[in-house]
Amino acid sequence: MKGKKLTDSELLVLGLVSEMPRHGYELEQVIDGRGMREWTQIGFSSIYFVLGKLEKAGFVSAEKPAGRKAKKVFSITRSGQDALAAQTAEALGHYRPTFSSVLLGMIHWEVLSREASLAALDARRTAVARELERLERIRFESQPLPDFIEALFDFSEGQLQAEKQWIETTSAYMEAKP
């Protein structure tokens, strides 16, 4: 894996181990507690799978403290820190396009009657508004959040607000069109 790109799950787990040495169950608690499953797909069993891969790549090292019931504690290595820094810069700096289903829907606008298209857009507007409320509720429940995580929420909220506005402008135009 050395030199190769880390998957999203690997980058996430590596970041958590870089904060401080942690064992697997602790990682599960942090991922859960910080609501990280909002934006990554990582199951409980895959945490150990990911840790195994990171260990094999030399990005984390595992230490089993003395004691029969002691759990393996994972720490980041020097090369793990380098990989984490490189991948974080890439994640921040590179634009990765994501395609919304609304694009395919718009391409086929004329397949539907005007009423049906407008009704569908209206349903989308409701869904977007509901998602905005849900995000705000999560933000509220997760207080206190560090400023960079608040900014992360700002990003998602801004995208949704832009989409909501686009739906309103587009609906108004399509509806008024002779």
């Binding site: 904060e19 942090v30 507690g33 509220f140 207080q143 206190p144 560090p146 400023d147 608040e150």
Partner: protein, 204 residues
């Protein structure tokens, strides 16, 4: 006395050096606070802290909007005291009293605070009776930045109470104060920063 808290004052108040104790004058500032009694361990203070940050979220949201790049995240602060101050030094936590608090922007008034609490009510298990907005002027204090494990704090405090204060003819005057500059779930024990602060007055 109303002192404008600028960046330089914030640095003086919240980022003292790690090398030696310094004296600062802490002006009056508005705080959101919740009182507690008994040992702050085993989740007691954690619960109050969670409630406090939930209650002030609407104010933080407004502050981020209003202040933009000038917004500064306010850290968690705790005051500790005991009716018999020996219980504090001796670590008899069941006799401790404490307070969790967060400084708020100076434009926050009672009405804004009650509105925030009303909005946050749905997110809180229960609203503690002591949750309130209070202006607090700590006055002259000795302080230092502690960098490292929490277990090393008592040694520094020993130096404060047995060396620095007597040498400067000062007595403790008011609750002992800690300001936690890191999120402990993200920063390892050996890299945590805590401001240790003690209000003082001239010794008799």
């Amino acid at each position: 006395m109303r002192v404008k808290i600028d960046r330089a004052k914030l640095v003086e108040l919240y980022l003292p050096g790690t090398e030696g104790f310094t004296l600062v004058d802490v002006p009056e500032m508005p705080f959101a606070m919740i009182d507690g009694e008994g040992s702050p361990d085993h989740g007691a203070s954690a619960k109050a802290i969670k409630t406090l940050f939930t209650a002030i979220y609407p104010i933080r949201r407004e502050a981020r909007k209003r202040m933009g790049k000038n917004f500064v995240e306010a850290p968690l602060e705790m005051l500790y005291w005991a009716d018999d101050m020996h219980d504090l030094a001796a670590g008899n936590k069941e006799n401790w009293k404490w307070k969790v608090m967060v400084v708020l922007p100076d434009w926050v008034d009672d009405e804004m605070f009650s509105q925030a609490v009303a909005e946050a009510r749905g997110q809180m298990d229960e609203v503690p009776e002591s949750l309130r907005l209070e202006k607090f002027a700590e006055g002259r204090c000795a302080q230092i930045m502690h960098f490292g494990r929490q277990q090393e704090v008592p040694a520094t405090l020993e130096r404060l109470y047995t060396e620095f204060l007597p040498q400067n003819e000062l007595d403790p005057a008011g609750p002992y104060h800690e300001i936690y500059l890191n999120d402990w779930s993200r920063v390892p024990p050996e890299k945590r920063k805590i401001v240790l602060r003690q209000p003082v007055r001239a010794a008799d």
